[in-house]
């Protein structure tokens, strides 16, 4: 019946796999942004509280379920109750959506990595225009890093409606990224992983959300990893270790990111000042080197009073340079990684080295998370006898990677980045909250908390602390419900959804409304994973009724 399940070689491998899954791009580009938006160090308070109250209990729950049931997400939840197979299926669907769009980030990281071996770095200089008399117009209006990101990497179209063609360069990088993922999962998932975020004005909401998504709850990846554990494994200790390491990585990454912000802000501030100095020196024919940053304000006042006419001509061209304004530009997501960081890197000494190291790190994080995601999809597939009897493991992994790669080509089109943002914002957010809520309720009330407790004791030999029981049964579900209600109400109140489109003529981002079919896709994304839960429950109920109707129950 059940072949002996492959096991992790040692508990350390399992811990590393979980850490690699949990620690990922969100730690680097989401957490520092949240810190900056919600008061820096003080954001740590809600973050740590949410970690202890929500993150650790839910992480422990998922690991315990996986270790106890020794199956992937679909099998595990079906075991708890036949009506709850939909939860596992919903997890797989969400993981599938995630793996569709997530690997394009790795493709972009590869693209930048390959371009880091040039002098000068391609994003540090603007290309020349057609008659070689100046720089390309779009690049002048924006900046060279933005130009390289929006034009050379994405070749972005002005709106989501203009699809354009598939760009072969990012498509090649996407294929390579999928090949690397396939290479790692080919033999069975004994490796790494990680996950994502969300947003809203309230610091606590954001802290709760950040913890939730950063740990990668609800995708089924953690259940999949834990299902390969020895039954006697101390998953309580591992849950605490993984969540602590995940949080400390986030905090460490913010320290680095803040120093990058500071460097970039200082550099931009100084070049802004230099531009103003040059403008004034040229307009008023002042002696070269006379105007410096220290006497700028004095001289400006003197010029305004002595040559008011000429000064008023020059005034519109002068920018108000402010270090505060530079520091206040908080960016998250792909904008942080590929624009802000590259801008900082291009101004450093030996920029090629830093660039290579940075994009290599991004790749490690991204591929680690991809492996966790793919594990979430592959484990239920290889567990199910229907699929694994017909195809060997390698073929299943290959098929999954191939399908995802082909669908992922959508994100290499000219409008691909807009679709990426849709998936990034909506594919995994509401659905995950609901999935984890159902998971918690299923374990505590459907399976029975006492029964689960005795199972864990028998399995690991250790009792269950009252703290975990209190969290699982009460606090965490309440927290998730409130998060869920908050997001729904926020969406209803805001009304239509908008997105940022790149305008090539102005050289900046503009806000546009989503067209109806994009809204339909969003609705479909959210609904398709959530609907699995009630639909499977209904289906199981109907089949059971039919079976009971056909054969009278044995005495």
């Amino acid at each position: 019946m059940e072949k002996s399940r492959p096991l992790w070689a040692n508990p350390l491998q399992f811990v590393f796999a979980c850490i690699s899954y949990a620690v990922g791009l969100g730690n680097v580009w989401r957490f520092p942004y949240l810190c900056q938006m919600y008061g820096g160090g003080s954001f740590l308070v809600p973050y740590l509280v949410m970690l202890i109250v929500e993150g650790m209990p839910l992480l422990y729950l998922e690991l315990a379920v996986g270790q106890r049931m020794r199956q992937g997400s679909i099998g595990a939840w079906k075991t708890i109750s036949p009506y709850l197979g939909g939860v596992g299926l919903a997890s797989v669907v969400v993981s599938f959506f995630l793996s569709m769009y997530y690997n394009i980030i790795n493709a972009w990281a590869f693209w930048y990595l390959f371009h880091s071996f040039q002098d000068p770095l391609p994003w540090s200089v603007c290309p020349l225009n057609d008659n070689h008399t100046g720089y390309d117009e779009e690049c002048e209006k924006a900046s060279s890093t933005q130009y390289f990101w929006y034009r050379k990497t994405l070749n972005i179209s002005p709106s989501i409606q203009d699809s354009g063609r598939v760009q072969w360069e990012p498509a090649l990088c996407l294929v390579l990224a999928w090949l690397v993922v396939y290479l790692c999962v080919l033999r069975g998932t004994q490796s790494t992983g990680k996950l994502e975020q969300l947003a809203n004005p309230k610091a606590w909401i954001n802290a709760a959300t950040q913890i939730f998504f950063s740990l990668g709850l609800g995708f089924g990846s953690l259940i999949a990893f834990a299902s390969y554990n020895e039954p006697s494994n101390n998953c309580q200790k591992h849950a605490i270790i993984v969540s602590l390491i995940n949080s400390s990585t986030s905090i460490f990454a913010s320290i680095v990111t803040f120093s990058i912000y500071g460097f970039k802000a200082t550099f931009n501030y100084e070049s802004c000042l230099n531009k103003v100095i040059l403008l004034l020196t040229n307009s008023f024919d002042l002696e070269d080197g006379f105007l410096t940053a220290s006497n700028l304000e004095q001289v400006k006042g003197y010029l305004a009073s002595t040559f008011p006419g000429k000064y008023s001509e020059v005034l519109p061209q002068m920018r108000n340079c402010s270090l505060q304004a530079e520091l206040a530009t908080a960016v998250q997501g792909t904008g942080l990684s590929f624009i802000v960081y590259t801008e900082a890197i291009k101004n450093m000494e030996v920029s090629q080295l830093w660039s290579v190291l940075y994009f290599f790190m991004l790749l490690m994080l991204g591929i680690g998370s991809m492996l966790g995601n793919t594990a979430a999809i592959l484990t239920p597939l290889t567990d199910s006898k229907v699929v694994s009897s017909h195809l060997p493991k390698e073929a299943i992994s290959g098929l999954v990677c191939l399908v995802n790669c082909v669908i992922g080509l959508v994100f290499t089109m000219e409008s691909g980045n807009y679709w990426f943002d849709i998936f990034n914002d909506y594919a995994a957010t509401l659905s995950l909250l609901l999935i984890v809520l159902v998971e918690t309720i299923a374990v505590c009330y459907v399976y029975g908390l006492r029964r689960f407790e005795s199972d864990l004791e028998a399995m690991t030999g250790r009792g269950l602390n009252w703290y975990w029981k209190a969290m699982w049964a009460g606090v965490s579900p309440l927290l998730i419900v409130s998060l869920f209600v908050f997001y729904l109400s926020d969406y209803i109140l805001t009304g239509t959804l908008q997105y940022q489109a790149w305008d090539a003529f102005q050289g900046q981002l503009v806000t546009k409304d989503y067209p109806p079919y994009a809204l339909a896709v969003i609705g479909l994304l959210v609904a398709s994973s959530i609907m699995c839960i009630p639909l499977v429950a209904l289906g199981t109920f109907i089949t059971r009724c039919l079976k009971r109707g056909d054969t009278p129950p044995a005495a």
């Binding site: 071996f117 396939y182 290479l183 040229n282 060997p392």
Partner: protein, 222 residues
């Protein structure tokens, strides 16, 4: 008489060279920005050198080989350092067309720059755009090379893993199939409770030899 002539000449010269005059160009130097401590002062000798360089550039233009230094007129020198200049014809009544001067300066820009230890950004001729260095496009983009290398390595690794997996499976299927059968039988007899095999909970692993068990029981003292 001579004084009058001299006065006339300078007056005419002054009219020809004026800011925004016809065929006049403004030049801007940023010596301190370029050279820092080693900056030299801009004096009449440097102006003379400038006039010489412009005359030299004009001499390279066909039909203008007779341009002399005295044909180049400078005016409105500011502290910046910036000034205007024109090039007159031998009669000193008209200025040479701007287009000719432009092309002459562009062709000899490097020589002029190096005479003053400056470059295109620190010695600016307004209205004479400098030709920017064309980007060096290698025949094969560098990123493609690195991409191809990594791609090939990954493909080879994938192939190796697939083939070794196939070979392992073939060896297993040829090997002891009897062991497989007994294992299957053992697993069939494992009790399943609620869909979960009791096997994980059984620490002994189910390899108990029944024959010896029953003998022990028989031999157990009363």
């Amino acid at each position: 008489m001579l004084c009058l002539l001299f006065f006339l000449v300078t007056a005419v010269g002054a009219e020809l060279c004026q800011p925004d005059a016809e065929n006049a160009f403004k030049v801007r130097l940023s010596i301190r920005t370029a050279l820092g401590d080693k900056a030299y002062a801009w004096d009449t000798n440097e102006e003379y050198l400038f006039k010489a360089m412009v005359a030299f550039s004009m001499r390279k233009v066909p039909n203008r080989e007779t341009t002399e230094i005295s044909h180049v007129l400078l005016c409105n020198v500011t502290q910046r350092v910036s000034f205007w200049f024109v090039v007159t014809d031998p009669s000193k009544n008209h200025t040479l067309p701007a287009v000719e001067i432009q092309s002459a300066i562009r062709m000899n820009r490097n020589r002029i720059n190096s005479a003053f230890f400056l470059n295109d950004q620190t010695l600016e001729f307004l209205k004479i755009p400098s030709t920017l260095a064309p980007p060096t496009d290698p025949t094969m983009p560098i990123w493609m090379i690195i991409f191809s290398v990594i791609f090939c390595i990954v493909i080879v690794a994938v192939m190796l893993l697939i083939f070794s997996g196939i070979r392992q499976r073939r060896r297993k299927s040829k090997g002891p199939s009897e062991v497989d059968d007994t294992e299957d039988k053992c697993e069939n007899m494992i009790t399943i409770e609620n869909g979960i095999p009791c096997d994980p909970l059984d620490t002994k692993g189910g390899h108990i030899n029944d024959v010896f068990m029953t003998e022990d029981e028989r031999l157990t003292p009363l």
